[in-house]
Point group: D2
Chain length 403, copies 4
């Protein structure tokens, strides 16, 4: 009987609980024992789940109750030249997905962008947020609190920044709803996505607010952050990186490669991505930006739940004399090149493929670059999809006319 | 020189393009060749990306330009008894994530639910949507079109259902914006998530609309579907499954396990999840439901980009005499147990662990069950997180009072 | 001492309360007494407030604690030919406002529409809603309730319609959030705006739901109606009338009258009304539709608070070969030509000016017509404002070029 | 034949247009002539429309094409003691409405507030906004523009403030969407609602932006302002005044006057105003705040179309040991005590009744006070309505139990 089997027996007998295993053995054996136990309990086989190639120790900060690994196919699209602030040069975009046709779509779009000389991308705003909610007796005290915060921002900044070697507090926005005061702390977290950094720093500052004002902390996140929720505050004010990618595709390229016209694409984009989204009361005015975001997040070790905010994106297309101007603006793309899942084997390799793993120079440049590469990839997906439905009509029009 | 190396050379020389490889060799060799090529171009190593254990052939419908696999740690939480329509019994929930503490949080919540006898869950609405946008000359013709659609729903149903052996057209909702007519087709797609099914069926029906009315199809998706966008139409009307999980946690359990009180949790939930989300103009009135959704989606082969709609969820908590009533209602949880990524090795095993792989009996029951299990898991995450910040105060209150 | 003075004395002494006055005298004397009393208490003079010309008796259903009248200037714009379902012919639009330039703006737009042969307008959807919220023990019972409602819609319809001679129940939509069940009753209320009718009918039906199911009525309005709130449910699904007005303005007219081009207006509309509103996370994708709605509502006796829903409107503009296509689609314009404030003197005259006072033939036609006239008026305001900012650039371009 | 008749003849013959009349006669005669003409054209009588008591000259800045006046009944509610920053003391609230029961509802709520010693109110944020949209060649230039704006805020401030004697530029927020740059100028406009002031100041600043950067002004309002549209940006960031009113109603008063309990009201408020609004994807989490806003706006000469933003309000209720805490927080209440419709006779009297007409001391105090009074009035309406539906159940419970 292996160690794992012995431990599985103890799990089954109720002597041990799943989460207690880590105290009794190494991570890999613990995972094996859990797998054995769960297989017995459910009758399932978990063979391929057990065939993970990463080091179980490495994954410890990323998961509890580990039983093994999930494997997703990864592909690449590109290369594409990008003129960005953090990204500058030619890039292959690694994407992990289970959605057929996605890679092909992005690749087709990137090919058109490449033929046009590449895309431009810029991070126009940066800031990871944490917004605690405090309770006060009433609005009179709420006024006191927000005035105190305005007057003592420096004190709060010192407290917040004392907890981090890299992060900087940029701003504290205040909001009052009845006897609730929300303070939205905004940080520059450099190359880290920064949620943990922001949380720890905010906790430190919040304790001072509690000590010095009538405010009582209810929760470190009062949902005005707003993390992993489809909230207008992120779509408007941004969270993580606000990043735009744009390109002008020559008229001839639109016609030859995308089989349609700038005018048709602009019109199609307006009807679907602007008017359709308006009628849907959407925060996402794009075709399928979340597809590329999700696939790039999975490949590069980002937080998959933050695909939610990654869908707050607006696609614009307009016919210009020389061709099609197309842009995609993400309000709240939350990415990092250090921390989180970026240290796992395959994810690290994907970031290295982009030459964007680890801290950038200057600090923040790598995360900026990652945001820009993803924005360009997603823009390619938009071009490809809009061209696809527009060309259908061009071709059917051609057919009808016998051309 | 291996085949892969030879192909990599041809890629590098420009003789072949990345996407053309599949025509020249088998999927695995193609992946190896691409990896070699990309490594040469970028200087990165992609060793662990190449250590995937699934069959490259199997992944063909899921990806193009494949270079290998991404690996994510997978764990389990539970078990938990669920009284659902599709899920009925004890369940371990498989979760793949890179976010530390998530599994522990869900597990802690499930433990409290289990101690309370389990959770109830129900799918209260089902419907996968596809909403093409048509152009008409003006609103006079728009009126003609929607009247025609209302009068000819049976014809459209026949056309739509002719393309699918399982799917059923439930309803067609009509919307007019100027010279745009949107038809929102709603389908019961049984155990499939159903986007492809809905798209194909809608294309067939749309051709009839084009033939019989003044409408010209612009795009099969007019963004009122609304797929992978944070849209109110999904939060209100639902997409995929609308599913609620709820539980009553005994007062004693709240105090002993969660270290707080039903009253404190109800208040904390109101301030953060209801009032905070209201002020954020959010479609998500929950603490971190998307975390569990994302992790369960990744484990079970769902579409990661649909985590976006999976965040349209409302958490309620109220103190009752006997304890805490807590619920989590997802408006638009889009899941399937057949198709998409559910056929990949590790994902299939995760579904088998739930006894929910493949088609259900009756059809749709497995996908219902998956939705219910995820809802219960996410409810556990809500309980755990809200308890965490509420107990902080109880403990600090205790400290202050010297207890 | 007049009667009013004597009553004012009694108010001042505390012997009578403001709202008790109506039991002691006629409405006009009561208003005078209140005015006297309030003047004494505050030192203000209320002379012009007392110079109202309507009959105080008539106003009794519209107000309590009356002290007199507020007077707003009223003007007319037009005439304009309208091809609508309820409105058909030439119309002068009465508008009451205090915002300078509004009438001129609408009038300029109507003049361009008239020169183009008039506008088309259609009510594409109708339905006044009332959505009670019920409490149930949990989601299991919620499922029971919504199934019961689906199975017993006819019973509920009979109950609802028993309370009204005109109204018809069109549909009941069901929504579940935890232990809350919302039933959204949708009525055709013909020429009445219909809130009261819908409320009374829904109360009757709700009592049956309470009697036959585990549901307990919490409130007759559960805010999914949603009345006088800026809610996406209205912007998407409509409330009152969904009405679109559109027009094609000849290219020459755009250039001569509006001093710009169809292309410039289409572009300006996209940047401001579509993209700008998208970034603002708005439910209103228009320039100033609420201005015309508010002014028309005040002139014709509509509920001023429903201007809120009247702002859920999308303006589209596109350059066509022959000129500019422009449309304005209101999702939720809540109007009536009977009941509410439509019986007051000046409001009745304004409706008569439109030949739309009282019940229509067929029932509902007058309210349809009013919705269409307002939509055309607001479309004119959109044309005028967009042209204004676009022509600025044309003219400055001309100046720069020395033309 | 009177002058008016002669002019009406000329209108009818087409010799004169409606808007040209003002050049030929005084405002009152012009109004009479228009009335005559429109009566002839439509067959309507406009007698009471002609019985307006204000001076037609005074109304000139408020309307064009005037034909007379609309009259609405006006009442008062109160008095109520208010502890505010701009409002301090006892207030009668003037309300003009056609909605029966509104005054009674507000009055009942104010009576409960008065019995509890009055309400507290605070303006927690102030800022009238104007957000022009500029076009740039692409995102690279967008970055240039926003950096320039950040570096040259002082220059823009000087330009903006050069156009106004009172207004102060507080901040310029920048937003980028593709090739669109939005600058949201935020002003303290003191006692004026301030839209015109903000527009004029912003025009001046925008010309500098155009001159110094690659930006081309498209429209002075790019809809991120956002004026008279139901936009999340206002609900989150505020526009005009962000103002909260709150009160604690003694438990006994809740039971005696409102016939219910603090617990029932808190629960009812959560189900309807929080959860119901959440499910409706609403920006308004209140029962009927817009009713009081609309009625107060009409009485005091505010812009009726801005009732739209006035509905962005959140009502909270919680049971405390000593009773019910209730609050109402408006995010974007746009009011002024000078300019706009505040100079009309009846509106001016209504403001004088509040001792809030004209400029305050310090500047802005009167508009603050008006915002606070309206907030308290609307809070009263919330209390009254929520109590009404909660007491229904108490009473029916009593009936069932035979008490």
């Amino acid at each position: 009987m292996t160690d794992a089997e012995a431990l599985a027996d103890r799990l089954q007998s109720g002597e041990l609980r799943l989460y207690e295993l880590d105290d009794h053995t190494d991570p890999e054996t613990a995972a094996t024992a859990r797998r054995l136990y769960v297989q017995r309990e459910t009758g399932a086989t978990l063979d391929t789940v057990g065939e993970y190639s990463f080091d179980a120790d490495t994954a410890e900060p990323n998961i509890e109750n580990m039983i093994g690994g999930a494997q997703l196919p990864m592909g690449v699209a590109g290369p594409v030249p990008i003129d960005g602030s953090g990204a500058d040069g030619e890039y292959f975009l690694p994407l992990a997905t289970t959605e057929g046709a996605l890679l092909a779509s992005v690749n087709r779009g990137l090919s058109a962008i490449r033929a046009s000389g590449g895309a431009t991308a810029r991070v126009t705003d940066t800031g990871m947020t944490r917004a605690p909610v405090f309770q006060v007796p009433g609005v009179a005290e709420a006024e006191t609190v927000i005035e105190w915060v305005d007057d003592n921002t420096e004190t709060l900044r010192e407290a917040a920044e004392s907890t981090t070697s890299h992060g900087e507090l940029l701003e504290i926005d205040t909001y009052v709803v009845g006897d609730n005061v929300f303070l939205r702390f905004i940080y520059d977290t450099k190359d880290a996505m920064g949620m943990n950094m922001a949380t720890i720093a905010t906790r430190e500052a919040s304790e001072i607010v509690e000590a010095e004002t009538p405010a009582r902390l209810v929760a470190l996140s009062g949902n005005l952050c707003s993390d992993k929720k489809p909230a207008a505050i992120n779509a408007i004010e941004g969270r993580g990186r606000s990043v735009t990618a744009d390109v002008v595709i020559d008229r001839e390229l639109v016609e030859e490669r995308l089989k349609t016209t700038p005018e048709a694409m602009a019109e199609g984009n307006t009807r679907k991505n602007l008017i359709g989204s308006a009628k849907a009361a959407s925060l996402g005015f794009n075709a399928h930006a979340a597809n590329t975001v999700a696939a790039a997040f999975l490949a590069t070790g980002q937080d998959a739940a933050q695909v939610v905010e990654g869908a707050n994106a607006i696609t614009t297309m307009e016919a210009r004399e020389d061709g099609l101007y197309a842009s995609l603006s993400f309000a709240s793309l939350e990415v990092g090149t250090v921390g989180g899942g970026t240290g796992l084997d395959t994810q690290q390799e994907a970031l290295e493929l982009l030459c964007l793993h680890g801290g950038g120079n200057p600090a923040g440049a790598n995360a900026d670059g990652l945001a820009e590469v993803i924005a360009v990839g997603a823009l390619a997906g938009e071009l490809s999809l809009v061209a696809a439905f527009c060309s259908r009509h061009l071709s059917s029009a051609h057919e009808e006319l016998g051309r």
